[in-house]
Structures are given as structure tokens and as C-alpha cells.
């Protein structure tokens, strides 16, 4: 479906580079919800831009490739590579942006903003017909059709987010990318949005990528997930496995920080901040904050190793375990 081959992306900052995405390699499969987690500033959003092929100065892809495999009009498979993925926007791949408040034109009605994105795919239909369809679809997503006539500021945050999801899914794209779909919403609304996303995905059987810093979101809705740290994907695997047996110390700390039922202890964030992506340290990038880091960690970058079924992580401490497992299986 969506495949990233060892992709690096960087920002060209007046001559120096910020390597926001570093050799990331994974795929998003058909009919799954893939989650991308990590603290802010770890490159999640950049990764999303790379997936969506939103490569604009000063962002550039320095190595690797992005591919989307989809079915064409006649049913034959079509491959879109980065650089031309934008030709498949909205039909094959669509995007739910972060910050629903600011992504809508404040002086235009919701309807016209809806039309802007999709009308070119429905040239044959009359505006009235199309509007009726949209209204019907919105009703499905529990949105009153009146929102079409409203201006963005007249809608609540949750409604705006639903409108954006509706917009992204209206054309039944194969892949939907959602950037922090629940941030800045209160818990009840969050749950509603997540339920809606899951419902839509179930119905359309398409793939979905959800980027969120909130591990709880991933736990609730994603099938597989990857953990980003300082531009790298340091662990990837089925969501259930990751939550049950996190391998990377960073992942462990992220999950450890989640509140659990019956646990009343004070949760602390992870101490320290991620390293600068301008001049990342040698060795493991997490070493400076890692409670179990060794000198090796600080000197040599760890390789990605399999730590379970479809479960991989990058950590020097895991290498022996992995080798053992390989031997065991082998």
C-alpha cells in the first residue's frame, strides 16, 4: 500500500541542515490503522509530510523513496512515487491536518471549502447534487448538514475536526493520514472522534495513518504502530505487542508514563529533552536520556533488530536477545 524505503528528509536552513527524518523504513498495509507516536519535535509531522509528498522548500528528501501502490481506474495496479504522489491526493491518499481551528479559511463557508477539495473529481455532477451527497455523508458522520452553510468560527472544535475527517474520507481514498486528530479537544470529544475514525475505517476498509503524541490514542485505535525518536523510527510492531512488551527503553518510558486503572502513583514525564536534529550526537540518539545507556550506546549507532513477530527495535541492549531468538527459532 504505502511503502517508505529508508527515507531521510531534512530542512535546508540557510545552509545548515536539520535532519528531521532519518532513514525511516516501514510500510502501511491495506485496511490497517497504523500509528506513529513520539514526543513533539521528533519528526512525526515531517514524516507525515513525506508520506503525503508535501515536499516544499526548505524540506527535501535526501535519500530513500516513498511509494504508494493503488488500483487504477481500470483496476490495474498503479504506483505513485514521491514527487508525483500529489496527483493521487484526495482520491488515493488524503490528509486530516493538525489544528482544525486554523486550517479553514475564516471568511469562507464550510461548503465552499469542501467543494474546493473535491469538486474536480465530480465534474459531471451538478453542485446541487454534490451538495446533497455531502450532506448525506455528513449525516452519516453525525454532523448536521447545516454546518455546510456555517463559517468555521461558528463550529465547535470537535465539529471542525469531524468536518475535516469527512472531507478527507468523502472520496473513499485508499489511505488517510491524520495528524494529531484529537489534540486540543476534550476527552469526551476525543473519544467520539476516535470512534468515528475507527468506524469509517471499518466501513471503507482503507488504511489509516494516525500521528499522535498521545499513547492512549494509539492504544485505543491503531493496529500497528511505530515509535519516533529524534527523526528515527526506533521501534515498530503490532500495537498490542508494543504495549505488552515494549522493547526500546524509550518506548518503555512512554508506556510507563501512561495512567493505568487502579494505579494512583504520580506519573512523571521523561526527564530531559530530545537532542538537536541539527547536529545529532553519535551513537544512540536516546543515550543521553537513557537510564541504562552504556559507552557503546554513546559511540555506535544501534542497528534495527527483530525482537518478536513483526516487531523490531533499535537498541544495543536488545541485540543479544534478538540473536538468541534468532538462534532459538533457527
Amino acid at each position: 500500500m504505502l511503502r517508505l524505503h529508508n527515507v531521510s528528509a531534512r530542512y535546508n536552513m540557510l545552509g545548515s541542515y536539520v535532519n528531521a527524518v532519518d532513514r525511516v523504513d516501514f510500510e502501511v498495509r491495506k485496511s490497517e490503522i497504523f500509528g506513529i507516536a513520539g514526543e513533539s519535535g521528533c519528526g512525526k509531522s515531517t514524516l507525515l509530510k513525506v508520506m503525503y509528498d508535501l515536499i516544499q522548500y526548505p524540506l527535501e528528501i535526501s535519500e530513500g523513496s516513498v511509494e504508494i501502490h493503488a488500483a487504477g481506474k481500470d483496476g490495474k495496479p498503479v504506483v505513485y512515487r514521491h514527487g508525483d504522489i500529489h496527483r493521487s491526493w484526495w482520491k488515493v491518499i488524503s490528509y486530516v491536518p493538525q489544528g482544525a481551528m486554523h486550517v479553514m479559511n475564516p471568511v469562507a463557508r464550510v461548503k465552499s471549502q469542501f467543494f474546493d477539495a473535491i469538486s474536480k473529481y465530480h465534474e459531471k455532477k451538478s453542485a446541487k447534487q454534490l451538495e446533497a451527497e455531502i450532506a448525506g455523508y455528513l449525516r452519516e458522520l453525525e454532523l448536521p448538514p447545516e454546518v455546510l452553510q456555517a463559517f468555521p468560527h461558528q463550529l465547535s472544535g470537535g465539529m471542525r475536526q469531524r468536518v475535516l475527517i469527512a472531507l478527507a474520507t468523502f472520496l473513499h481514498p485508499d489511505i488517510v493520514l491524520a495528524d494529531e486528530p484529537t489534540t486540543a479537544l476534550d476527552v469526551v470529544v476525543q473519544r467520539g472522534i476516535l470512534t468515528m475514525l475507527a468506524k469509517v475505517q471499518k466501513k471503507m476498509k482503507n488504511s489509516m495513518v494516525i500521528v499522535s503524541h498521545d499513547m492512549g490514542v494509539h492504544y485505543q485505535i491503531t493496529h500497528r504502530m511505530g515509535i519516533m525518536y529524534a527523526g528515527q523510527m526506533i521501534e515498530i510492531g503490532p500495537t498490542e505487542q508494543i504495549f505488552e512488551s515494549p522493547q526500546h527503553p524509550y518506548t518503555k518510558m512512554l508506556i510507563g508514563a501512561l495512567p493505568k486503572v487502579g494505579d494512583n502513583s504520580q506519573k512523571e514525564g521523561i526527564p530531559g529533552t530530545p537532542p538537536s536534529l541539527k547536529n545529532p550526537p553519535p551513537g544512540c540518539r536516546f543515550a543521553a536520556r537513557c537510564p541504562v545507556a552504556t559507552d557503546l550506546c554513546r559511540a555506535v549507532e544501534p542497528a534495527r533488530v527483530a525482537v518478536g513477530h513483526e516487531h523490531m527495535a533499535s537498541c544495543h541492549l536488545l541485540e543479544p536477545i534478538a540473536a538468541e531468538r534468532r538462534a532459538h527459532h533457527g
Partner: protein, 274 residues
């Protein structure tokens, strides 16, 4: 410096040239450049008189240097105070709302509706004593602050609706520091444009007053230089060095300010990584 774009470089370079011309060069001129009959009149530009001499026997180059100095002083004084006063009042009104807003808006609007030129001429006539440049600057400030005030009030009104302002408000920040820290960065671009424009408006208004004989025509400013050149038909007589130098100076100063402003906006946009 290394990462400056072409606009910023060009703008700063031209500005620097003018600042040196206006503030450093006059230090090396022994006499008073506005004295009449100091040199033979109507000489074309030469090695001895770089920009020639005027019909009044002044050296155009030294006169220009002094004029640039005075015009700069007026322009920057007016632009600075008008923009700062206007920005603070406008943002305060737009952000605070209620009675404060009403009062400030009333005040601003009353100033805006009065046509400034007739009043400038009137006030010029009122000046019985000495029409000092400082006084002219003061009048121009009075007539130039309401513009940014009104504009920024409108901008503050829509900014107020934004989330982060709400956040700042609930986090207990004082109005003043919200205005300075949270709102001002958003209106800084416009304020800078207004600042640059007000410099030009000030220099332009002064020369407008000069043309009708209401400035202090014995002080060297770019406006009074144009006034005297016009008085002596420099344009029709083809004395381009006389009429041309203040006009080109005004144009270049403005273009330099404009380039600096837009160049800086580009530069800082890049720095923010957008």
C-alpha cells in the same frame, strides 16, 4: 550577514550610504551649507563640486548631506513616535474592548476625520515665531498616530479570537505583556511597513509644506531643497543636479527602507523555518 538575502543586503547598503552621507559627511564641512553666494552659481558637477552648485551659490553636495540629515531626523522621529503611540493605543483598544476601546476609538476617529493638510497649513500660519523642524515633527506625529492605531485595533480584534490569546489570558498574563509578547509579534510586520511608510509620509509632508512656504525654508531639508530648486525653475532650466538630487535621495531612501523591510521579513521567515 552571510545569510542575508539580496534585498536586505541592498537595502542596508543604501541606507548605510545615506546615513554616512547625512551624519558623517557634514562633520567635515567647515561652513554652513545653506549660506548663499558661497560659490559661483550654477556650476555643473565637477571634481570640485561633486553635485554642482545651485542658483543661490550653494554647493549641492554639502547642502544635500545636511538636508538628508535633517529629513532623516524628522522622518525617524515622526515614524517612531507615531507608530509606537498608534500601536500601543490601537492594540490596547482592540484587546481591552469595552469602555477603553470606545474612548480610544473615539479619540482616534476624531483625529482621523480632520483633514490634515488644511490643518497643517492652518497651524503653519499659526506659527508666529520660528517654525522649527522639531515643531513640524510634532505636528506630523499628531496627525500620523491615528492610522496605525485604527489599523492595529482591527487586527487586534481578530487576533483576540485566537486560542493562544485566550490561553494567555487565562494563564493570568497582564494585558500589557499580552499585547507586547503575544500580539505584537503578529502585527510587527504591518507595523514595520507603517514605520517605513510614515518616514516617507513625514519627509513628504514636510516637503509639501515647504512647497507652499509653510516649512522653515531656511533649514536644509530635502523638502526645502526641492522648494528652492522649484522656485528657481531648476527643472525647466535643465539644472538636474539641483532638483534631481533631493528627489532621487527621497526615492532612494524610501527604496532602501522598503528593501530592508521586506528583506528582513523574508530573512526572519526563513529563520523561523517556515
Amino acid at each position: 550577514m552571510k545569510n542575508w538575502n539580496v534585498r536586505l543586503k541592498a537595502g542596508v547598503a543604501i541606507l548605510a550610504v545615506f546615513l554616512i552621507l547625512g551624519f558623517v559627511f557634514p562633520l567635515f564641512h567647515p561652513g554652513n551649507p545653506i549660506d548663499w553666494s558661497a560659490y559661483p552659481k550654477n556650476l555643473k558637477p565637477s571634481a570640485a563640486h561633486w553635485f554642482g552648485t545651485t542658483n543661490l551659490g550653494q554647493d549641492t553636495f554639502w547642502l544635500l548631506a545636511k538636508s538628508i540629515q535633517n529629513s532623516f531626523i524628522i522622518g525617524i522621529l515622526v515614524a517612531f513616535f507615531a507608530t509606537v503611540i498608534g500601536a500601543l493605543l490601537g492594540l490596547l483598544a482592540g484587546f481591552k474592548g469595552g469602555f477603553v476601546d470606545r474612548l480610544i476609538t473615539l479619540f482616534t476617529d476624531s483625529f482621523i476625520v480632520i483633514p490634515s493638510l488644511p490643518i497643517l497649513i492652518l497651524l503653519g500660519t499659526l506659527l508666529k515665531g520660528r517654525a522649527s523642524l522639531l515643531y513640524i515633527a510634532l505636528i506630523l506625529i499628531v496627525f500620523n498616530w491615528p492610522w496605525p492605531a485604527r489599523q492595529l485595533r482591527a487586527m487586534a480584534l481578530s487576533l483576540r479570537e485566537r486560542d493562544f490569546i485566550h490561553t494567555a489570558l487565562f494563564s493570568g498574563m497582564s494585558t500589557f505583556s499580552i499585547i507586547v509578547k503575544e500580539i505584537f509579534p503578529f502585527v510587527a510586520g504591518w507595523s514595520l511597513a507603517n514605520f517605513v511608510n510614515t518616514i516617507l509620509v513625514a519627509i513628504g509632508s514636510e516637503s509639501g509644506l515647504a512647497v507652499i512656504g509653510m516649512s522653515s525654508n531656511e533649514k536644509a531639508t530635502l523638502g526645502t531643497m526641492i522648494y528652492w530648486a522649484n522656485q528657481h525653475q531648476a527643472m525647466l532650466a535643465g539644472r538636474w543636479w539641483w532638483i534631481g538630487s533631493p528627489v532621487i535621495a527621497i526615492a532612494l531612501i524610501f527604496i532602501a527602507l522598503f528593501l530592508t523591510m521586506t528583506g528582513y521579513q523574508q530573512y526572519s521567515a526563513l529563520r523561523r523555518g517556515k
